[in-house]
Symmetry: C2
Subunit: 267 residues, 2 copies
């Protein structure tokens, strides 16, 4: 057993969906979440910058003695996971592989779609992960920047969102995609809107899939927290309205405080 | 006369619209533009963070010996202008007052609308600036986060954009707004979309207005560059696809290089 915390980070608040899934599956674990809200979003940044930000946050989590780091952000998983795994002694897991595995299990026509941020799509990480599992799979990708701001704005069930879903996904649907990886932590919030345009689409939530894998991994490696003293600590580089709103939505008023923690300050 | 450069900064690439307006009106001036693309957007961040970022960039521009600083970002103008003016010896101008003055001249029914980012709206800066000019004016504000990502995605003439324009602006239109300040440097790119939904709306571009005021101010204070050696230097904290695309669009392949300059790095 190991009662040290699990570190989780994301470019912003989207990774709270992953944090929540981990909390529900493993309520006895102590979780430390860091959202880089002062520098969100990562999806439109260059690779160097994403790696630098990820490294800074990993250093912070390690200073809190975490037994594992979960890269809840698809963009950071796509771009920085291998670098972190090469530099850090505790296990580092990302959402990409978990989502890829689940999509390969779910599809039945040899085609998997991926909708993600620009940086995640450009990295080809989902494609590589899927082809490693099954080299015959056809992977069709599309970046969908506006999905991120639609969820941040709270327009999750709206004509505009359905129109954007149609515009982004119609092409891959026509090419045969019926299993779609939601390759950004925000996108599970758009499930209803996507289903209303494409009712038969199977939607794979990478964040939920990684939570399932973490549970199995902690058991296998004998890293579970048997002391049963699970709490959630939330940190962010900027305390924004969105963060406050989502924190309350996910965890209620009790059980977790937000501690302001700026890691990029020179002031 | 004074041949030192004019410093211009923005949270990202939107301020290039201001830079371009200044360039067209004052081709003999040497311009240094800094876009904080690694930390864009500012509009959803807290006030403390926006002030910190603005101060860091002003320090960089001062190190390049600028004779004036133009805060091209509406959000930073709204939140950080007074702080910078209190700390810095060269003149610091922002887009808010220029936009407010132009809107007060343009309106003929005592009502002015403002559409901007969340931080700009919450700061009430346009409202304060307008009421200082005319205390009887009625000001109706609305934040429009998704306008920013629609322009970044290039969906400037699209059904989704017109639907978003209708959703954001119909309320203020019904309340009588016929003069609307585009209170974010990105929004002038949406002029056509807004006009196709609200044909009679007078749209005020704060960035163009500040360029007019700077020209007058340099002349009055005898700060013009008479050496006629105008160049544009572009700096950014992250070199992104969007930045490259817009740079070429605005300035062509010649006459300016992008120098990578990271000011928030600890690495």
């Amino acid at each position: 057993m190991n009662s040290n915390p699990i570190g989780i980070f994301d470019s912003g608040v989207g990774g709270l969906t992953v944090c929540k899934a981990i909390r529900e599956l493993m309520p006895s674990e102590h979780l430390i979440y860091f959202g880089d809200t002062a520098r969100f979003p990562y999806g439109t940044r260059s690779l160097d910058t994403i790696i630098r930000y990820s490294r800074e946050i990993a250093d912070f989590l390690l200073s809190r003695n975490v037994k594992m780091i979960v890269v809840a952000c698809n963009t950071a998983s796509a771009v920085a996971l291998k670098t972190l795994q090469g530099e850090i002694k505790v296990p580092v897991v990302g959402v990409i592989e978990a989502g890829a595995r689940a999509a390969c299990r779910a599809q039945d026509n040899g085609i998997v779609g991926v909708v993600a941020t620009r940086a995640t799509v450009n990295s080809l990480s989902y494609e590589k992960a899927i082809l490693e599992i099954n080299p015959n799979m056809r992977v069709i990708q599309r970046h969908a920047t506006i999905f991120v701001s639609l969820t941040e704005e709270g327009w999750v069930d709206d004509d505009i969102t359905r129109l954007a879903a149609d515009k982004y996904l119609r092409g891959m649907y026509n090419e045969g995609v019926r299993t779609l990886i939601l390759g950004c932590t925000h996108f599970p919030l758009l499930k209803n809107a996507i289903h209303s345009v494409f009712p038969e689409m199977v939607l794979v939530d990478s964040g939920y899939e990684i939570a399932l894998e973490i549970k199995r991994m902690l058991k296998e490696k004998n890293l579970e927290n048997l002391r049963n003293d699970g709490v959630v600590e939330l940190y962010a580089s900027d305390i924004t309205d969105t963060l406050q709103r989502l924190k309350d939505m996910f965890f209620g008023e009790n059980g977790s405080g937000i501690h302001k923690m700026i890691i990029d300050s020179r002031v």
